[in-house]
């Protein structure tokens, strides 16, 4: 009996001692957390990323959800290209945390590098929702969209910002680049394929690959990707429109027509691409009046779209309205000339020291191309430039 009591006493005592020790060490670690974080930050800044994680190890053992610790750990793992671990760390930081702003940008970087493009897009949208002035997130989202050949989505990000912060002119050169540059597929496929291989079943990636292959004329690759994209999102209007466009260009009008039969909830009639495809399909069937009606609806949504203006001219010519066709054709050529000149100016523009005449000319061209908001911005830049 005394022996048993002795053992119980020893166990209890040891437990108390251990608990005391644990709480003492924990108390010490937590009270010195700020110092540990600072030291870890210094290591990160000096490029010693594994050293930073070693310093953080004890803190993270006691406090696995320490936001700053997670942030530095995530950053250091990102720097060491351990993207999955970086994502795991950074995703634990809640939106409400003060560390979230920095964590978000690194998380996006890790997600993109790891091929999680859809997740990166979601994080960027959420991040921009919380920090709408984050230039880095905005640029990342634009870049992400461009990598998926989603030029319109990229432009929409910048336009939204411009509307919200008209006084901030820093976004104008990015918009100019988007206006002037042609989206090319050949330099996108590799990164999209890598992302798809790492994490299949990302609908946006698969659709982007389908479009890229279609642009490159690799129709069989494009076909299988469109099929996969439709498997994943059979009712997504954008996917269906792009797939229908592909089918139409492959000469299968019936398949294209089938794909364009959508739920009314999808509201495709608000998408000018849908309407323009209907226009092209009708024109191919020699239903010129019908084609023209579709085109007019599309042009009501995007009146300055050069392709639409050119098509209008062609349809008018088809209908025997030669004078109108010539006038609209002239407008199409003016738009094309304006776009070409914009490309030249975009290449020539010194972003740090733009000249007032250049800015004024850019404004004029953008006005012609139907972008009055951007034009106003460039006029302000022109006025602000020291002669």
């Amino acid at each position: 009996m005394p022996r048993r009591n002795f053992i119980i006493g020893c166990v209890c005592g040891s437990t108390i001692v251990l608990a005391l020790g644990y709480f003492t060490v924990r108390w010490q670690v937590m009270t010195s957390a700020a110092t540990t974080i600072r030291q870890a930050e210094l290591h990160v800044r000096s490029g010693d990323h594994s050293g930073a994680r070693e310093i953080l190890a004890t803190l993270m053992w006691f406090e696995p959800s320490h936001h700053q610790g997670l942030l530095i750990r995530g950053i250091s793992l990102n720097a060491d290209r351990m993207f999955a671990e970086s994502i795991a760390a950074l995703e634990q930081i809640p939106v409400e945390s003060p560390s979230y702003e920095d964590a978000g940008t690194t998380l996006v970087s890790s997600l993109i590098h790891d091929g999680w493009l859809e997740r990166a897009e979601a994080v960027l949208i959420q991040h921009l929702g919380r920090f709408p002035q984050s230039a880095q997130s905005r640029e990342n989202l634009v870049r992400l969209y461009l990598s998926q050949l989603r030029g319109r989505a990229a432009m929409a990000v910048l336009q939204d910002y411009q509307r919200a912060y008209p006084e901030d002119l820093s976004v104008l050169p990015h918009m100019l680049d988007l206006e002037a540059k042609i989206l090319t597929a050949n330099d996108r496929v590799r990164s999209l394929e890598t992302a798809d291989m790492r994490h299949p079943r990302q609908a946006a990636v698969i659709l982007a690959l389908a479009r890229a292959y279609a642009m490159l004329g690799m129709t069989e690759h494009a076909r299988s990707r469109f099929q996969a994209a439709l498997d994943l999102k059979p009712r997504d209007p954008v996917t269906r429109i792009h797939a229908a466009e592909f089918q139409f260009e492959c000469g299968d009008a019936a398949a294209a027509r089938h794909l364009l039969q959508m739920d009314t909830a999808a509201q495709p009639e608000n998408d000018d691409r849908y309407l323009f495809l209907l226009c092209r399909m009708a024109a191919k069937s020699n239903e010129i009046a019908q084609s023209y009606a579709h085109l007019q609806k599309a042009m009501a949504l995007r009146p300055h779209e050069e392709t639409y203006v050119l098509m209008q001219s062609a349809l008018l010519r088809h209908m025997g309205r030669a004078d109108e066709a010539a006038a609209v054709g002239q407008e199409a050529v003016h738009l094309a000339e304006a776009r070409k000149r914009l490309m030249v100016l975009s290449d020539q523009l010194d972003r740090r020291q733009p000249s007032a005449p250049q800015c004024a000319e850019i404004a004029e061209l953008l006005e012609q191309l139907g972008h009055p908001g951007q034009a106003t911005g460039w006029r302000r830049v022109a006025r602000a430039v020291v002669p």
């Binding site: 597929a185 590799r190 642009m215 797939a243 592909f246 010539a326 094309a336």
Partner: protein
């Protein structure tokens, strides 16, 4: 049963139950999922349909004949370290019968280099005389055509109506003209003829634009550029020298020389209204009667500026109607970087259509002709957008390679900037393309199964079409920037017969280039024209191959002579060798 056994039995029962439930759930979910997938598949299968190109067999077969042909020409002056702009175009090709022996001879235009100017035979323009099918001998040295310079394109035509084909070469620097002496030799007549402009000529074509019986000469000029200008660089790579873009350079006015009929030409570009200097950065042209008014019009393809269509009203000046007629810009609404042009009635609507090659990441354009009403873009619905966006096309030919009456397309591709060090996405050499015309509804890319040549990458430039072996089908000659030209023998199984038509003008200019030809046969009503210009820096065989379908004869041939007459022949058959010569005045003149 002891306690341990009871516990074990209980555990086994629980595990079995759990497995059963889990298995059921899995099967249930899987069956639902497969049901969903099946439903989708049914929808998608009917939506996406079978592969259009899967297992697509090519009706074409081309054999590369250069190695055994005796042709050893290699262009001199391809872009080197200094990236001179003159090197990008490569040399043109002219297809002609220099001695009227019925065999088609070949003339290749050579370039030069500012640092090491061309000298000697190898770097001269070269003339190859055909001695047998696909056998040629180099007759340059004794032909009088040995010459060096920055040659670009050429035009082969009988400018003085003496029955022998003369040669004009457009150059960076003075253009040159050689008169065919009729004995296999040539005499340079540049100065006497007054056609030695020292601008940057690229392509040229002869055609009797004023219907006076003598072919006039249109020379397409490019941009202002001097060899001492610094090279350009790819964005962000100042270490790489690169050929500069024509985008921000001034264009040079095109030239129109009126043939005065006495061996001389008078430059009338300004009076004719074709001297649109700043706007024109031309690389190619095609001359034909596009609006079927009996007069020859001129279509000029410009690089980074809108293309021109000069309507011939029958007097000076011509009207520039490219915008009005819908052929000025690319169908994506952008100003294209036009390189080459082809002209034929691809859709059998009775009007000539135009196909234009553009830069990489731009689409090649198909402008469907509506005759007097102009043109409408037809690329996308023909499948051309997808086929053509990736390569950079130069020479382009519309010819009915399998004699099914539908003109097919050949495109010579290749970049002019070697940026391959920047990544695999920067292609330099490219695959040529052979596109099968499917009843005027689509062009299908059948390049790969059409011969070894199409499975290799080249720096394709000029392309000319000719029946090189007089076997009744269209063969090809393609020049390359850094390799011998490709002589491609057409070994395709013909879908029908053909007649090789040669027009001999008497009142019109002798070769009557640009004349419209209509035929009525078993195959329907077909329209074509005698080539004047076309492709890129090339001069085609002036003999026209007419597809006759299953019939041996053609019910009716109607020729709209360049001199203005329209003449009809009924129930026409070819000679034993498949040829047919129609002499102006020998048919029934129906209309003026």
């Amino acid at each position: 049963m002891n306690k341990v056994h009871r516990n074990t039995a209980a555990a086994l029962i629980v595990l079995t139950l759990v497995s059963t439930v889990a298995g059921y759930l899995y099967v249930y979910r899987s069956s639902n999922a497969s049901e969903n997938v099946s439903t989708h598949d049914a929808v998608i299968a009917s939506s996406v349909g079978p592969s259009v190109q899967a297992d697509l067999a090519s009706p074409f077969r081309f054999e590369l004949m250069t190695p055994q042909s005796g042709i050893d020409f290699v262009y001199y002056g391809a872009p080197g370290p200094q990236a001179y702009m003159t090197g990008q175009n490569g040399g043109g090709v002219g297809v002609l019968d220099l001695d009227n022996d019925g065999r088609i001879d070949l003339f290749f235009v050579n370039g030069s280099d500012f640092d090491q100017p061309a000298t000697g035979l190898k770097t001269s323009n070269r003339l190859y005389r055909c001695t047998a099918d696909f056998q040629y001998e180099d007759v340059t040295r004794n032909s009088g055509l040995m010459a060096h310079g920055f040659g670009m394109g050429c035009a082969a035509a009988d400018y003085d109506n003496d029955g022998f084909t003369d040669l004009f070469v457009a150059c960076y620097g003075p253009d040159r003209l050689w008169h065919n002496n009729g004995d296999g030799t040539y005499t340079e007549t540049t100065v006497a003829a007054g056609v030695g402009s020292d601008q940057w000529g690229t392509s040229a074509a002869f055609a009797d634009l004023d219907a006076d019986g003598f072919p006039d000469l249109y020379v397409v000029n490019y941009v202002e550029w001097l060899s001492d200008e610094l090279p350009c660089h790819p964005p962000g790579h100042p270490e790489i020298n690169s050929v500069c873009s024509p985008m921000d350079r001034s264009g040079q006015a095109d030239l129109l020389y009126h043939n005065t009929g006495d061996g001389q030409f008078a430059e009338i570009g300004a009076a004719a209204g074709v001297d649109l200097a700043a706007d024109g950065k031309g690389l190619a042209l095609a001359i034909a009667d596009f609006d079927v008014d009996g007069r020859l019009d001129i279509y000029v393809v410009n690089d980074t500026s809108p293309n021109f269509l000069f309507h011939n009203p029958g007097h000076m000046p011509f009207d520039e109607v490219g915008t009005q007629q819908g052929v000025a810009i690319s169908s994506d609404g952008r100003v294209g970087s036009g390189m080459g042009v082809a002209c034929a009635d691809y859709d059998h609507n009775g009007y000539l259509d135009l196909c234009v090659t553009n830069f990489r990441n731009q689409i090649n354009d198909v402008y469907a002709g509506l005759g007097p009403a102009g043109f409408v873009p037809a690329n996308a619905s023909l499948g051309m957008d997808m086929i053509s966006r990736s390569p950079l096309g130069f020479g382009i030919v519309l010819a009915d390679f399998n004699l099914d009456t539908w003109p097919d397309l050949f495109v010579a591709n290749g970049h002019f900037q070697d940026w391959t060090v920047l990544g695999p996405e920067h292609e330099y050499q490219m695959h040529p393309q052979l596109l099968w015309n499917r009843n005027g509804q689509r062009f299908e890319d059948v390049s790969e199964p059409s011969g070894d040549y199409f499975r290799q990458r080249w720096l394709g430039r000029a392309a000319a079409v000719a029946d090189l072996d007089n076997d009744g089908d269209a063969d090809l000659v393609v020049t390359h920037l850094s390799a011998t030209p490709a002589l491609l023998r057409n070994d395709s199984s013909p879908a029908g017969g053909s007649i090789r038509l040669e027009l001999i003008g008497t009142r019109s200019s002798r070769q009557s280039l640009g004349s419209r030809v209509e035929i009525v046969s078993d195959s329907g009503h077909l329209v074509t024209s005698v080539p004047s210009g076309g492709s890129f820096q090339a001069s085609h065989d002036r003999r026209v191959l007419l597809a006759t379908g299953a019939a041996e004869s053609i019910d009716e041939i109607r020729v709209w002579w360049s001199g203005g007459n329209v003449e009809v022949w009924k129930n026409v058959t070819a000679d034993d060798d498949g040829g047919l010569r129609l002499i102006e005045g020998s048919g029934n003149v129906t209309v003026r």
